[in-house]
Amino acid sequence: MNEFKKALPATVPVMAGYIFLGITYGILMAANGFPIWLPVLTAAVIYTGSMEFLMVEILSSSFHPLSAFLTAVMVGARHLFYGLSMLKKYSGTGPVKFYLIYTCSDETFAVNYHADLTGLNKTRYYTFVSLLDQLYWICGALIGSISGSLITFHTEGLDFVMTAMFLSIFADQWLKDQNAVKARKAAWDRKAEPDQKAFARQKSFQCRKRIPDKPERRFWLRKHLPELIGLLASLICLLVFGADRFIVPSMILMLALLIAFRPFLEGGESHVR
């Protein structure tokens, strides 16, 4: 059960976020007059927080099945990205693969995508993470729908835990890429040494300053460009389209930019990662 021992701490942040958000969702559903079992069922079966919150509204308004379907596809569109990123990681996981795909939520994707699997059985690890996350979400929804408005301690602002989670994953990714840049720079410095010595002999010793690093800057950009595109494309779309409908345009813009910059991003040492 080594995998469980690793999976549990990895999902603790998700537990905090999911239970809190799940409770909020359950309370909201209860407040809108839906039966106790509905939030629990949707939590287990639909298992997409953002869609479930929207569902409270959709179920309370008039009947528009097509619009409901399109909303679900658009809200879920990010799962297409997760799927593409996890194709390789989830391959070879056997019969449990169906479950892993079904339960690949934002946070489960985040934890599994970044998992350090050294010495672990990946199928078991992925399964435990997926299972635990789903349980947290269901428990949250259950507690929320039962307790209704009984919660008395001040929870305002606790939902920031989600932001903080995505932010630290973003930072983690950034630092990893930054390490690649540093390693590359060190390699260049070693290689550049003899030339620089010759250069310094030729000129005065003041010229020992390193030659301006155009290739270095290009390498930095190559490593960080996907992150910058994600951040900037969505910021631009947020400003243009507003908070309620910027997700789909952001994804299109992001995709277009990533495709446009492919020659640059795949140039040189891009395969070393």
Partner: protein
């Protein structure tokens, strides 16, 4: 909405959600060679999506409401984000960074800017 309509709505939402999750795996089943282009997308989309998710979480940050009207011009969000990033850079402990950022945010919205 009648019960029947609610069930239909529930089912189409379920279908739409599940479709987005399974589509990549249906198009590229195991054994079928995934094109270089898709591999490229898989590699660069991960980092890009987290940028999007950060912006998504912060999408409702209110920069305009004045202090007098209970706003904080986004100071709560921005400082909590800064603390999350700095502590991550310092200790590289995700839980620590998340706790630091969240606790600061809660104090700011509940006590300081209440």
């Amino acid at each position: 909405m009648s019960d029947k309509e609610m069930i239909i709505t529930f089912l189409v939402i379920w279908l739409g959600t599940v479709l987005t999750r399974f589509l990549p795996y249906l198009i590229f089943p195991e054994g079928r060679k995934v094109p270089e282009f898709v591999h490229y997308l898989g590699k660069v989309l991960g980092p890009a999506v987290f940028g999007l998710l950060v912006v998504y979480c912060l999408r409702n940050t209110d920069f305009s409401t004045s202090f007098a009207n209970g706003g904080n011009h986004g100071i709560a969000e921005l400082s909590a984000c800064a603390v999350t990033l700095l502590t991550y850079r310092w200790k590289k402990q995700m839980i620590l960074s998340m706790a630091a950022g969240t606790i600061l945010y809660m104090i700011l919205v509940q006590v300081v800017f209440a």
